[in-house]
């Protein structure tokens, strides 16, 4: 199996060294009406690392991901992705710039097969026009074959060969999560956002998923930002952790630093907020 999912992709090389700054979030604030979801948060994600975002329910984790991939527009602050500073972002722009994500509640096309679902992840990379694609003619044919090969590699990578042609609606939850990861991977992302990839899984499924997350990171060098509630998983997987509580950042650092941070302990054990 090739080391890179798609060696032909232009995204593979963006001039940023492993360990260099991939994404920088500066003083982001986001509110819905009077509710302040995120208040003045700054952190960064380095290329090649696994960055966890943790925090109690309602801390603003998913909002943060939504800001990063352009689904929400923050009232204040800037985001620098691959050296490009921006305030507003559209999800499709984010996707074509190399940010892919999975969702807390699986968002797959239930009636489509695993293969087709993952194929949709290649959409933003397809160059031929819709007519040529429909006729499966000339360059479109060649292009689709190349994309299909990449998708097959992902299927092999995630060990889901046996459900290649199964409609995803018929699959158990754990496998659907895996398919969703596959679709995100198919976009050949520079930054992969995983929103609770292990929620609702049993121990074995969690272990499998952890393995895949680590393998994606190692094999493809993909930078990963993940939200997760299972502390064991977070501490084992991530290189650095940022902790949110009530929309504020209360901790940032290596898993060990975060574990011993008094504010974090308070937030998780529950100390009254005045």
């Amino acid at each position: 199996m090739n080391q890179h999912i798609d060696p032909g992709s232009l995204r593979a090389d963006d001039g940023i060294e492993r360990g260099g700054m991939l994404l920088h979030v500066d003083n982001i604030s986001l509110s819905f009406g009077g509710v302040k979801a995120i208040a003045d948060i700054s952190f960064d994600i380095k290329k090649g690392e696994i960055r966890a975002i943790i925090g109690p329910n309602g801390a603003g984790k998913t909002s943060m991901l939504n800001v990063i991939n352009g689904f929400y527009h923050p009232q204040e602050g800037t985001i620098t992705f691959r050296g490009e500073k921006r305030r507003h972002m559209r999800p499709h722009r984010a996707a074509s710039q190399g940010i892919a994500r999975t969702f807390q509640n699986i968002a797959l096309f239930k009636g489509m097969s695993t293969l087709d679902n993952i194929m949709t992840g290649r959409m933003t990379l397809m160059r031929s026009n819709i007519l040529a694609q429909a006729l499966w003619f000339g360059p479109a044919q060649k292009e689709e074959l190349a994309h299909r090969e990449t998708v097959e590699k992902i299927i092999d990578f995630l060990e889901i060969e046996h459900i290649r042609k199964t409609p995803v609606g018929r699959l158990p939850y754990g496998l659907q999560k895996r398919v969703e990861l596959g679709r995100a991977l198919a976009a050949d992302p520079a930054l992969l956002l995983l929103d609770e990839p292990m929620a609702g899984m049993n121990l074995e499924e969690k272990e499998d998923m952890s393995r895949f997350v680590l393998d994606v990171n190692q094999q493809f060098g993909t930078t990963i930002a993940l939200i997760e509630h299972d502390m064991g998983v977070v501490m084992d997987l991530s290189d650095r952790v940022v902790v949110l509580d009530y929309g504020r950042k209360i901790g940032d650092g290596s898993p060990d630093e975060v574990r011993n941070n008094q504010d974090v302990i308070d937030a998780y054990l529950g100390v009254s907020h005045d």
Partner: protein, 661 residues
Amino acid sequence: MPSTGSNAGREPVTFPQYLLLNASRFADRTATRHKDLGIWQSWTWKQQLEEIRAFSIGLQEMGVGQGDKIAIVGTNRPRLYWTFCAVQALKAIPVPVYADAVAEEMAYVLNHAGVCLAVVQDQEQVDKILSFSDEIPALKNIIYDEPRGLRDYDHTHLREYSEVQEKGREAMASDAGRGQAWEDAINASDGEEVSVFLYTSGTTGRSKGVVLKAHTSVKAACDTAGFDHLTENDNVLAYLPLAWAGDHYLNYAQGYVSALCMGCPESPETVAHDLREIGPTFYFAPPRVFEQLLTSVMIRMEDAGSIKKRIFHHYLEVAKIYGEAILEGRPVPFGARLSYWLGDKLVYGPLKNTLGFTNIRTAYTAGEAIGPDLFSFFRALGINLKQLYGQTEAFLYVTAQKDGEIHADTVGKAVPDVEIRIADDGEVLFKSPGMFVEYYADEEKTRETFTEDGFIKTGDAGIFDSHGDLKIIDRAKDVGKLLDGSLFAPKYIENKLKFFPNIKEAVAFGDKRKFCTVLLNIDLAAVGNWAERNNISYASYQELAGLPQVYGMMREHVDQVNRDLSGEELMAGSQINRFLVLHKELDADDGELTRTLKVRRSFIEDRYASLIEALYDGSTEKHVSTEVTYEDGRKGNISATVQIMDMTTHPSVGATQEAAE
């Protein structure tokens, strides 16, 4: 046969010699197929020779030589099969190990065999071996097939398969005579070297390393390949555990001597699908697999529309009455033949196609008794399903059914060159061309297994029936007596129970006890589907197993078995008095089953001692807590209150009355 040199014209006596022969006589015929990235890849015998030669010489470069033991761990993949031949070519000894063995079991085998190099499939196996590498000082290197996740590992003792092949190719490039020397060494062999260590699955305690010689293995494989007329036109799918004697025999040994084409599935989960695509001509599966197939077919038919259902059941009846007769070429009325032909177009053909059985010429089942209904079902569809009786120690066949001489309750007659004898205590003894030399490093066990005149004790109790066919009743040591003196053959009872699709596993107790009792395991697929159809909700296996409705269903099955038993003079005394449905599935990871999924009776007797006690002390329920092992080796606990149900037994009746039922 070697075309040049001093051995020209001689029959090959080792598998590497067959490789050379096949690469010259069938150079461009496909030897191996493997589905990768959704596409079937294939290698001709010539290409296969090149792959094997490169790897073998690469191994030589790493210092592998005569007598070295090389472990092979993984699922059915071409590169692992090639490893067998590559290792044998150097007169080193391949030692296949069950891929799903937990670390402790694997460490035992690797240590016992004195393995110095392991060729494994992937990261999972590498991790497993690294976890106990301190305990096996002899092991120096690991070679892996699938590099995923292994990039950042310390590669001082770790190599990729293709890297070793590359080394081999470089060696050949720098020394022009190297490849020829390798072939000459193969041709020079007289077949006296050890061919393989096959570790038994360990039905009774620790697994033993069965030592097989090259020329005897080749002889055995030639005999049975001839018996079933296997040729280079045949086609198989290798999906059984690589380390199992059956897989090694059917796919590797028979494959090399007959030069058939072996397919490797994409992954263990895709076997059913790959089977359909490959359409094998020769197929082997334990009864369990046929059972699962039948269950899944029946379950899917339950969901079909009413017209389809009616057609299906109608033609199934037709097949039941005439199918076997047509298969065996017996006279059948013209109308029935016509009806069967129509059934073939409408039902049997499409069904066989779905199962991947369309091209099957010969199918075998063995390992356990097969239910007569189940056996007939597949034969009635026109699949030439037969039974064989074999042992790792015999490599492999002892008896097999001849085409046209098929009975559901026997395992057939001795295959060519095999001698069988029944000892005074009922134990089956045999002598076969492929028979083993010894258990590796276990003289005592070896001595126990051979009789003084060189026969091998099988440990199975058997009788010859009126046709001269062998009938296996039970393990010789398991046949016992109830306190009142009536015969108790646990497996006989268990098999009767297991013939019900709703019962996955049964364990009977009764030796030296007042009466017979059983532990039952429900079949989750069948019972789960039944529950769904009857609007019975459940959250877990444990809950389903404990439902009163499920107990009711089991009660009917047990009662039916009692009724059957009451009709048999010898067995009427061992009717089931009490039973319970176990709260967890018996599992090989917990040591309850062997890796080939046979029940480990004594272990279960210890583990569930409190439940068994409750079966005999008259209590109606019992709380039990059981330790379970997860696949990663971690342990957890399952506890439950298990109900125990009483049964009424039937008075012993003559066989005539049973026939009227």
